[in-house]
């Protein structure tokens, strides 16, 4: 029922789970290898560094891992929702023929392997990167030599448990989504009821549509805000990390952040267009221009992206300030951290160029949507 071709569309889930496991495996493996070294630490400077490294490992794993785990879960439910919407007729026929909803939902376990691919690659990637990472973490030589060990428990928790968890989540999510009458699925009636406006307005149609789009698709609001949040925080943070930590950490944060931001931005924008294909086709048939369609469908999310940028900027500032003033407070040679205004403007400019380029690309794509293709669906 679920083919390899369908799973290839879940590349976003694989990338997010790759990033989550890559970061967590690096820091947790280092943390687990660091614990036995405690007995060998005698100087005050080494003890402070030891405590700071342990705290950093725990904080980074919990914050990044937790955040990315949550994102993967939302992304998975989102993909399942789309999968069911796109094939509601076939799934409705299966239910009408007597297949119990749970039996159909059980096939959705296949949404777990893309997570497994991501976690396995993330774990393997982290191990490949570990020698460089360990060296960077102890570049001043305060700590004793820490050798890299393989922790089967960690491997199980970071690679196989998430894949099993997401397979079960996919089954549960699809079971809930399929709990509608078979006829409704066959008729392809929207499985999601329209979310009514809180108060009545009398705006022009294009503005009404813009507001309605945001109201109907709150998960997309989350993705876009999150995407820009990642971008803003990691690009600005990486600039300061060169000074506070090492260029390696800066590159790592920058590449993971930009990758995550790009993936979520592309997934969210593609979903907006896919979900609005019929609307766009109808608008074009009625004589609305592609630019008007694009603004009505995509512009409603713009304020949320700016909010994401502002939140990301504040987040990275607070996080670094706390790290410097709390975690590394006993270190003498840690430079004072101040808000980096040029980095913020640079990041904002990069974000605007990236975002507007993506929107321009999608406006072009909208021109290709035809009513005929919609009618043949």
């Amino acid at each position: 029922m679920i083919h390899v071709k369908d799973m290839s569309k879940m590349i976003g889930i694989s990338i997010v789970s790759f990033c989550a496991v890559f970061v967590c495996a690096l820091f947790l493996n280092f943390y687990l290898d660091l614990i036995p070294a405690k007995a060998l630490i005698h100087t005050d400077a080494a003890k402070i560094l030891y405590e700071a490294q342990c705290s950093t490992a725990k904080v980074v794993s919990i914050v990044s891992g937790g955040c990315l785990l949550f994102t993967t879960a939302v992304l998975l439910c989102f993909d399942i929702g789309h999968y069911i919407d796109a094939r509601s007729r076939q799934l409705g026929v299966l239910k009408a023929l007597g297949w119990p909803g749970f039996s159909v939902a059980l096939h959705f376990w296949a949404f777990g392997p893309p997570v497994l691919a991501g976690t396995a690659l993330g774990y393997a990637g982290a191990h490949l990167f570990m020698p460089v990472f360990y060296e960077t973490q102890n570049k001043d030589g305060f700590l004793p030599d820490i050798s890299i060990a393989f922790h089967p428990g960690l491997c199980l928790c970071l690679v196989f448990v998430p894949a099993a968890f997401f397979s079960l989540l996919a089954i549960a999510c699809s079971y809930i989504k399929l709990k509608v009458p078979a006829l409704r699925l066959i008729r392809e009636q929207s499985l999601q009821k329209a979310v009514p406006a809180k108060r009545e307005t009398d705006l022009p149609f294009l503005q009404e549509l813009k507001k309605s789009n945001v109201r109907q698709r709150k998960s997309l609001v989350f993705f876009l805000t999150f995407s820009v949040f990642c971008f803003a925080s990691t690009t600005q943070m990486s600039g300061s990390m060169t000074e506070l930590s090492s260029p390696l950490m800066a590159y790592m944060i920058l590449s993971i952040g930009v990758l995550l931001a790009a993936v979520t931005l592309l997934i969210a924008t593609t979903s907006v267009i896919r979900a609005n294909r019929k609307t766009i086709a109808m608008m074009k048939a009625f004589g609305y221009r592609a630019g008007e369609c694009s603004r009505a469908v995509l512009d409603g999310y713009r304020p949320w992206t700016y909010l994401g940028f502002a939140l990301g900027t504040v987040y990275q500032y607070v996080l670094l300030k706390l790290t410097v003033t709390v975690v590394f407070r006993d270190f003498e040679d840690i430079p004072a951290y101040e808000f980096d205004v040029p980095a913020m403007f640079l990041s904002l400019a990069a974000f605007l160029i990236l975002y507007e380029t993506v929107l321009w690309g999608y406006t072009k794509q909208m021109k290709k949507i035809s009513l005929k293709e919609i009618m043949l669906d």
């Binding site: 329209a194 609307t279 009625f286 004589g287 035809s370």
Partner: protein, 230 residues
């Protein structure tokens, strides 16, 4: 007036290329109600898409008054549809996140029509302004799509099997509404259908078969939607 001369349309390429419209020529007068009658696969929906400017022709010409639709680029075709054409489809294609009122506004805003609510009243849905499409029956949804198409004050209304998904009683009601509004507002109406009975309500019937117009007949005394068999 719509003038179609030697219209050709092909689909596919290479060995799988097939000619869907094979040199169609016809005239439709202003204010006329014409039915294009044909079995499934006869090319009637393709014909409707090409004459309305939704798809480009591969040969021949389609003229509305002095404008040649077949030579228009994307932007020109878009402006033509905005100013001249209205559509009603079998599947309604209402926007699911918007109420009846806002769906009709989609058409009304294109023509700057502030009085569009009178059309919602005219189609008998005045009490359902705030309802969403999923809260309406099939017949009601089709009436919303008719109001939406007429709210943009089209000079030509194209309808693709508008009663195809409706039961007999609802279908008659929708057809009666369309005929009444066409007479009252005076727009040209071109309807595609496979139902021979529906053709009896039109002033002109053009029968299509395998991409050709095989018969054209005038109907001097069209019947009402309630006088025909279904």
């Amino acid at each position: 007036m719509i003038t179609v001369k030697d219209l050709h349309k092909f689909y596919g390429s290479g060995g799988s290329r097939s000619e869907v419209l094979k040199g169609i020529s016809l005239d439709i007068e202003e204010g006329e109600f014409a039915v294009i009658l044909g079995a499934s696969g006869s090319g009637k929906s393709t014909f409707l898409n090409v004459v309305s400017g939704l798809e480009a022709a591969d040969g021949g010409s389609v003229c509305y008054e002095d404008q040649d639709i077949s030579r228009m680029n994307d932007a020109q075709a878009s402006r033509f549809r905005k100013e001249i054409v209205g559509f009603v489809f079998q599947q309604y294609f209402l926007l699911p996140g918007l109420t009846v009122d806002k769906n009709v506004k989609m058409g009304a805003d294109l023509a700057g029509n502030k009085n569009y609510r009178s059309l919602i009243e005219a189609v008998g849905l005045g009490d359902k302004l705030k309802k969403y499409p999923h809260e309406l029956s099939g017949g009601e949804q089709q009436r919303v799509s008719i109001a939406r198409a007429l709210a943009k004050k089209p000079k030509v209304l194209y309808l693709d099997e508008p009663t195809g998904a409706l039961d007999e009683a609802t279908g008659r009601r929708v057809l009666d509404l369309l005929c009444r509004l066409q007479r009252e507002l005076g727009f040209t109406m071109v309807m595609v259908t496979h139902n021979q009975n529906i053709a009896q309500t039109a002033g002109t019937v053009l029968s299509m078969n395998s991409g050709r117009i095989v018969e054209r007949r005038r109907n001097s005394s069209p019947k009402t939607a309630y006088e025909i068999a279904w």
